[in-house]
């Protein structure tokens, strides 16, 4: 018995010593920052390497909750150090409500809106000359014609896909609730209009956009849920969905074992032009400003690309697709259009929501 007690005391001494040592490290002064974050970045912010780097190099620890991009810029921000939405439009909305020029913000990451599909669908679209494959990347070179197939209510069988039931469609999340659906509506209206939609011409394109989105019926609220359903239910249920490039990259990295077999049939299509989903960080306190600076750290940017698929928002960092195991990711995306203005988008989304 006394041996046990002695053993225990030695053990306790070592343990307490370890705790003492741990808290006496030479890291910079520590700060815990609170904020709201768009769900797409959850994987990045749970990454041990990211957390270690932020803590070790900058003394920053994060206490964050998930929130929708538009939800967070509307929410009361008292006690928060930062907001990190997934859309430039959300930043615009924030600036309208908070015109204080001292509030800093910068785009930390970018990810293009892409369409996820399947081998047989992409093959059919290549035959239709809607998609062109260059250097392994599938580019939607004739988006207006794809949009016309959808808007015109053509069937899959019309483009040689008799196995698929119903009309050619592109499934998105609910544009009123989720940013990827919101951005798809912006892109679709621009493609149908032939130019960025404005107050002046929105009415001419509105009925076609509304009809197209309404034909989807039930829409998911979250881009992540839609992406998983696309993979789970397959080409029959979800022939084409809209999402972010980062989703497939992160998925491939997180699922090393299963990715090789999925890669046989999963395809990514890049609209030409496409729209960027920007991830601007809004600093609400000096701590937030510290985080804004820290996130531009080249090592963090490298992790963001190589482990989570976010393209950098910083000019001097290069995104090398060779580092990724996902085939068909282009190094650069050069043809990009701006999203329509917030006001115009609101009009489109409200028309879609009306019964």
């Amino acid at each position: 018995m006394s041996k046990q007690i002695l053993g225990f005391l030695v053990f306790l001494a070592i343990a307490l010593g370890a705790v003492w040592y741990k808290t006496q490290g030479n890291a910079p002064s520590r700060v815990v920052l609170r904020g709201l974050v768009g769900g797409e970045k959850a994987g990045f912010l749970r990454d041990e390497k990211v957390l270690d780097l932020l803590k070790g190099r900058y003394g920053i620890e994060l206490d964050w909750s998930k929130a929708g991009s538009f939800e967070m810029v509307d929410a009361p921000s008292a006690g928060l150090d930062f907001l990190w939405p997934s859309s430039q439009t959300a930043l615009e909305a924030f600036r309208v409500k908070n015109p204080d020029p001292n509030i800093k913000s910068d785009v930390i990451f970018n990810s293009p809106l892409v369409l996820f599909s399947w081998d047989i669908v992409v093959d059919a679209l290549v035959k239709e000359k809607i998609v062109e494959t260059r250097e392994g990347t599938h580019w939607i070179v004739d988006f207006p014609r794809l949009a016309e197939l959808v808007v015109g209510g053509r069937k899959w069988s019309d483009i040689g896909l008799a196995n698929l039931y119903g009309r050619v469609n592109i499934t998105t999340t609910d544009p009123a609730l989720s940013n990827s659906g919101h951005m798809f509506v912006g892109l679709l209206s621009t493609v149908l209009q032939g130019d960025v939609v404005t107050d002046a011409n929105v009415d001419s394109v509105l009925p076609r956009v509304v009809r197209t989105i309404k034909a989807l019926g039930f829409m998911e609220r979250s881009s992540g849920d839609l992406f998983l359903q696309y993979l789970n239910t397959g080409v029959g249920a979800k022939p084409i969905i809209a999402g972010y490039e980062s989703q497939i990259v992160e998925f491939a990295i997180d699922n090393e074992k299963t990715w090789p077999s999925l890669r046989q049939t999963v395809r990514v299509m890049y609209p030409e032009p496409t729209v960027w989903s920007a991830h601007p960080l809004i600093a609400l306190s000096p701590g937030g400003a510290k985080l804004l600076k820290a996130l531009k750290d080249p090592d963090l940017q490298k992790i963001a690309w190589e482990r989570h698929g976010f393209r950098t928002g910083i000019a001097e960092v290069r995104n090398d697709p060779e580092r990724l195991s996902v085939l068909g990711i282009p190094e650069r995306i050069t043809r990009v259009v701006a999203m329509p203005e917030y006001r115009v988008m609101e009009k489109l989304v409200q028309a879609i929501q009306a019964p």
Partner: protein, 527 residues
């Protein structure tokens, strides 16, 4: 003592993690609210529970129940596992459900006995919903499905019917509110639903029923058709042929999602279970049970002896479902089903007014009837009467005391009926057989096929006077009609006397003491 002390020093554990506390990282138990189609997986789940030294309890509920439960507020259970993610999306407006992942996939198919299918030409080629509708309406075979307002397979089939028969949904791409106002469409769907010979409250029970009672066709999950066929073949009977309707197919994606109550050990247990279910090994075992795999990257390698091509099962077919309508369209469609489109039901409620029911028994019974006869409560539970439903209430003690009848769903009449039920006073002995014989007699006189008949018996006691079981079984064989009698137990009731009644009449004995609404919905789902 010392060991316990060591375990209780979190700093020590945290700093060095020297002591193995595997048993402390997982919670001891997990409760899952699940669709009935997962009953088959119970042994698999218990195997996991044993291997981890934990307990897993499954609480089986219909999809609409799960949807309502989520929209009502905080859910007590640790996890939900409905047949389709649609019910989580529709019900969970406060984002309670986290980490939801599809565990397996099964299509909702039309299944018809081989010879009947051949006779009607439904066994090969491209089969549309409209061809199935014509055959059902012509009454060429006996047909059963689950209630669209109780069970996911019934709802999926019903939405598929609406989609396929709407002339407009085909051109607009998806069923809309405008379609649901189209009287032509509603008449067609009413016709189809009128051809249903037997409605059931849950998919698993439907499967057992068609096997025992030799129904010739049903709508159900491919997985449960496989189970039914295995039982039929074993019994030397003719199996079902699976038909995948081209224009109204639905997929059940079976999502298992977590509800966090602040206990990280529960979360760890949930995650361990979910990860285990998605391992290639367990996915292969699910495939052996007739389910299609949902773990990403796990190839579908069906056992040809389970997914038999001779049963019409097509494993290479691309499953291409009809699009799911918007949330408000789904809600409206379900309401229309309940109050206008389903086959009208003819229900006799036999209420026990013997002396022992006085007090709490009587109050519970009145509560039950209030749930049914108060339109706002009934609507929320999708239990409301339609304009064409027939309702009788037989009050009994040692003999039949009163019989009240009501046609349709007029709210004043429902209120009046409820008042009678509330104010009538219990006294005397118990004879449950006399009112049942009277109820069967009443329903049998309605003629064939126009109504879904059922008797619901609410009792707390033991029949000790008057008629007996032989009188009831005599009446049952005399009327030669399938009229299920659902006993709902109150107070001290024992199932000993009630089980033979539900067995005889192809029904179930239900417990009104633990979950009255659930018991009621199960009974009502059958007509």
């Amino acid at each position: 003592m010392i060991r316990r002390f060591v375990r209780c020093v979190p700093a020590v554990l945290f700093a060095l993690a020297l002591i193995s506390c595997r048993d402390q990282k997982l919670a001891e138990s997990l409760t899952i609210v699940s669709g009935s189609e997962n009953q088959t997986l119970e042994p698999l789940l218990q195997e996991f529970a044993r291997s981890q030294g934990v307990s897993i309890s499954m609480d089986y509920k219909g999809s609409v129940d799960i949807m309502n439960m989520l929209s009502d507020g905080p859910v007590e259970a640790d996890a939900v596992w409905p047949a389709n993610s649609l019910w989580i999306s529709l019900g969970d407006r406060s984002f309670q459900v986290k980490q939801s992942r599809s565990i397996m996939v099964s299509p909702v198919v039309f299944a018809i006995r081989g010879s009947a299918g051949k006779r009607l030409g439904l066994d090969s080629g491209v089969v549309t919903i409209d061809r199935i509708r014509q055959a059902i309406q012509d009454g060429r075979f006996s047909f059963a499905m689950t209630s669209a307002t109780q069970s996911n397979s019934g709802a999926a089939a019903y939405l598929g019917f609406l989609h396929a028969m709407s002339s407009d949904a085909d051109s607009s791409g998806v069923l809309s509110l405008a379609d649901l106002a189209d009287t032509n469409l509603l008449a067609k769907v009413r016709g189809l639903l009128g051809g249903i010979n037997r409605s059931a409250g849950s998919s698993n029970w439907l499967k057992d029923l068609v096997v025992q009672r030799d129904y010739e066709a049903m709508m159900n999950y491919e997985a449960l058709v496989i189970e039914a066929n295995q039982a039929l073949v074993k019994a030397g009977k003719e199996p079902f042929q699976v038909v995948y309707p081209v224009d109204g197919l639905a997929l059940a994606d079976s999502p298992l999602g977590y509800i966090h109550h602040g206990d990280d050990k529960k979360r760890a247990l949930f995650e361990a279970l979910q990860a285990w279910l998605l391992t290639p090994e367990v996915q292969a075992r699910l495939v052996a049970l007739g389910r299609r795999p949902a773990a990403l990257g796990v190839p579908f390698q069906p056992d040809p002896d389970v997914f038999r091509s001779s049963w019409g099962i097509e494993t290479k077919r691309i499953l291409s479902p009809a699009p799911t309508p918007a949330a408000e369209v789904v809600r409206k469609a379900l309401e229309l089903y309940q109050i206008e489109l389903r086959k009208p039901s003819a229900t006799v409620y036999c209420l026990d007014y013997s002396g022992s029911m006085d007090g709490s028994g009587h109050m519970a019974m009145v509560d039950a009837m209030r749930m049914l006869l108060t339109p706002s409560i009934a609507r929320r539970n999708m239990l409301q009467n339609s304009t064409r439903d027939l309702t009788w209430v037989i009050a009994f003690s040692d003999h039949v005391l009163e019989t009240w009848k009501m046609v349709g769903n007029d709210s004043t009449e429902q209120e009046e009926l409820l008042r009678k039920i509330r104010t009538f006073r219990p006294e005397g002995g118990t004879d449950i057989y006399s009112p049942l014989v009277a109820a069967l007699d009443t329903l049998a006189s309605l003629g064939e096929g126009k109504y879904s008949p059922a008797v619901i018996l609410m009792t707390d006691g033991v029949s000790n006077i008057g008629r007996n079981f032989e009188d009831l079984s005599g009446e049952w064989s005399r009327i030669r009609k399938t009229i299920p009698v659902f006993p709902i137990m109150f107070g001290e009731a024992s199932s000993e006397q009630l089980d033979p009644i539900s067995e005889l009449t192809t029904a179930q004995t239900l417990d009104g003491r633990s979950n009255l609404a659930g018991a009621f919905r199960k009974a009502r789902g059958n007509n």
